[in-house]
Subunit: 195 residues, 2 copies
C-alpha cells in the first residue's frame, strides 16, 4: 500500500504533529509493507489560492505545471490520510486551498452532463484525522455534521473515493482530553491496518 | 450605514464580479446614504494562510500588525456583504483564510469558559451572495445545508452577528440560469435595503 499523508498545521509543536508522528510510527510497525510520502503543506509553503482568469484558464488547471509533482503524488497513493485541526467547523483554508487547486476537472473528475461527475480517483481510500476544541458532538448536532459531509460527500464521493474513515477528536483544549489515549489509538490503527 | 463588501473571485470577467457591480449600483441608488468599502481579496493578493508557532503566538493574532487595516475595516462596517462562488460545497479557500486570520480571539470573540464564546462583533449584520453550478437545492438536501450552517452558526453566530441573509444562486453554469434576473434581484435588494 502506498500512503500519502497530507499534513496541515503551522506548528510542529502541536498535537496535530504528534498525530502525524504516531501515524508514521504505526505504518512503520505495520507488518504489511507500506510506502509513505508526507506532504506538509505549511512546511512547503503551499499556495492555497486557486487563480484562473483570461490568461490562466480554468479548463487547463488539471495540467498546471506548478502542481505536476502534487498530482503525481496523489495518483501514486492508494490511501490518502489527512491530518488537520477544525477551525470554524471545517479544515483550515490551507487544506481547502490544496483541494481547490488539486481536485480539478479532468484530473479528479470528469463532467458527464448529469448532477454527479465521473470520479477519476476511484479505488483509493481516505482517512481524516481531525482535532478540535469543544465537545466532539458539537459539529454533529449543532453544525449538521458539516465537516464530514463536506469531506465525504462534496469532495471524496464526487471524485470516486468511497471508503472514507474519520477520527474526529474533540475537547483537545482540555488537559484531561485523553490526548495520549487518542494518540495510541491512531498508532494501533495504522499498525494493524490492512487495506 | 457603513457597508464592507468582501469580494472573493479571481476573475473580474466572472458572474461574481457582475454581482459585485450590481451590489454597488444598488447601494449607490439607495436613497439612504451608505458608505461603502470593497475588499477584493484576490486583487490585493491577500494571504489566506493562518500561521502561528513559537515565534508568532496564536494569542497575539488579534493584534497582528499585518492585519491592522483589515481589522479597522471590519470594525468600521455595520453591514458585511460577502460575494463568492461555492467550490466543493463551501466558499473558496481564499475567503475561508480571511476568516481564519481575521476572526481571532479577543477581536471577534472572547472565550467565556463555556461552549459558546462572547461575540465581539455584535450589532453588525451579514449578507452572503453565492453562486454555484448545479441545482440550488443540492447543498440543502445532499450536503445538509453545510454552507449556510458553517457561515451562520459556526462563524457569524459565534462572533455575535445574528442577522444573516443568504442569496444562494444555483445552476449558474446554464445559459438559462436566469442570470440577468438574479443580478436585477440583487440590485433591487440593495437599492431598497434600509437596515
Amino acid at each position: 500500500m502506498k500512503t500519502l499523508i497530507v499534513f496541515t498545521h503551522p506548528n510542529h509543536e502541536s498535537l496535530n504533529y504528534a498525530f502525524l508522528q504516531r501515524t508514521l510510527a504505526g505504518l512503520k510497525d505495520n507488518p504489511q509493507t507500506s510506502e509513505v510520502q508526507v506532504l506538509d503543506l505549511y512546511a512547503e509553503q503551499f499556495d492555497p489560492r486557486l487563480v484562473f482568469n483570461e490568461n490562466k484558464r480554468r479548463r487547463d488547471m488539471h495540467r498546471d505545471p506548478e502542481l505536476e509533482r502534487h498530482r503525481q503524488q496523489l495518483m501514486w497513493a492508494d490511501r490518502i490520510v489527512m491530518i488537520y485541526p477544525i477551525w470554524w467547523g471545517r479544515p483550515p483554508a490551507m487544506l481547502l486551498g490544496y483541494i481547490d487547486r488539486m481536485f480539478s476537472a479532468n484530473f479528479a473528475y470528469r463532467r458527464t452532463g448529469g448532477l454527479m461527475a465521473e470520479g477519476l480517483l476511484k479505488g483509493k481510500s481516505a482517512i481524516c484525522i481531525s482535532t478540535m476544541e469543544g465537545p466532539p458532538r458539537y459539529t454533529l448536532f449543532w453544525l449538521n455534521n458539516a465537516h464530514k459531509v463536506l469531506m465525504k460527500r462534496a469532495l471524496f464521493g464526487y471524485v470516486g473515493i468511497k471508503r472514507v474513515k474519520f477520527f474526529e477528536f474533540g475537547s483537545m483544549e482540555k488537559k484531561n482530553g485523553k490526548q495520549s489515549q487518542k494518540l495510541e489509538q491512531i498508532y494501533q490503527y495504522f499498525k494493524t491496518l490492512t487495506v
